[in-house]
Symmetry: C2
Subunit: 272 residues, 2 copies
Amino acid sequence: MAELGPLCVGIDPSPALLGRFELPDSPDGLRAFCEICIEALSGVVAVVKPQVAFFERHGAAGMSAFEAAVALGQDAGMLVVADAKRGDVGSTTEAYADAWFRGPLAADAVTATPYLGAGALVPMVRAARATGRGLFVVVTSSNPEGREVQEAVRRDGSSVEASLVRTISRWNAEEAHEAGSAGPGRLGAVGAVVGATGGASPEGLARLAGVVLAPGLGAQGATVADVARRFATCARGAVLPVAARAVLAEGPAGMRAAAERLGDELAAALCS
Amino acid sequence: MAELGPLCVGIDPSPALLGRFELPDSPDGLRAFCEICIEALSGVVAVVKPQVAFFERHGAAGMSAFEAAVALGQDAGMLVVADAKRGDVGSTTEAYADAWFRGPLAADAVTATPYLGAGALVPMVRAARATGRGLFVVVTSSNPEGREVQEAVRRDGSSVEASLVRTISRWNAEEAHEAGSAGPGRLGAVGAVVGATGGASPEGLARLAGVVLAPGLGAQGATVADVARRFATCARGAVLPVAARAVLAEGPAGMRAAAERLGDELAAALCS
């Protein structure tokens, strides 16, 4: 990843993009879409993020295409983040931990959503550590409607998002302590999803000791300069900006060049 | 449903319950588990709620067992609520709407999670209305860790959960207005998930004009009396208390009787 830079490309086989690729809106279309994307991006980007919702549209057959996409990405040497936004309580969170860290759907990392409280995600945190994979907890989304929940103020006076950042930092500190390997540069199993759009990043993000996944680059409105400004305090190499449509809409012939261009801009802006 | 009473049984094929049923922890085990449950509950309960996480543990093959479970429940005359807790933003929410209202996974209703803001779920609300299915938005969960998010206070001074109840009420009022059929007794396409555990129900729940799905009966600690107290202001027939382990742990031989007993207790407590 150090060689290829931080850009993560979202693999979003929406009906519109399947059409743009002249592929059918079917499980076979999903498979072909992922093959084209991974071949085009191989050697250019280190991380891809297939969006599970677009595979679920085709039910079990779509999820079979998702399993194939994970294998294909990993075979091409990429890290694969399953954007599933899962989360529940108790034994159900245990089941999601099995599903996304140990079962046939397991990629290198998965995203989770914390409406049921950060504590409810602990089985997924433990499974991430135990399997050497990553868990990205949604902290701040790239859409304006998310603000009403994420900036709401808890009883202890902190916002929901700031408190999540603190909890993730604590989890990663615990992990480092248990492993006896704390120290600068060490990143824990839990990262945060923080949209690339918007102003200042949530309080305390620089102390996360985890990776920040930052969707919203391009079609959702964030520029490379926005990313550089919003995550200025984060550790070098710890921010993965995500672009999907901005790259994919270039089609099979243009997407590799689009990813290279965006990757170069990001490398220049984030690593200088 | 009027005949069978309000009890909803959660179909949770966890590793522990598969073992209790002497079934393998495999896609075939999931299928057999669902067949046993639906046969045993047929004619006793009107609504079942398969928990998607337990099917995802087995990847695409598990999701195929989920599709079969939905068909089996519907063939037995039951309403099937897919407990998926999905939710995202923009075109991804559109994809979840396709997946859970129009695709092979579509049941009679699906649960959604609102960490990205209620507004982000609008494509699912529209799809529920258009397809005559239901959407249950998680408002208040049955676990204590959820309080820190759900009772947090928004800029407008209301709690996250109270504001969600207002938004759902508004959606259902809009729907009734568009259909020209407002009035008492009419329930809209959007319901709320409110855990059966805890004290008073969230503010304004009686004005929801939608169904309340109330997990937590039995193993998670809520009693029939708790349910009656917590939802005392809700319309008759508008609350579906959910029990899973309390019924399923009785095993293939005992679960029908356990569901009948619990159903009778609920009918007496809620409908008197």
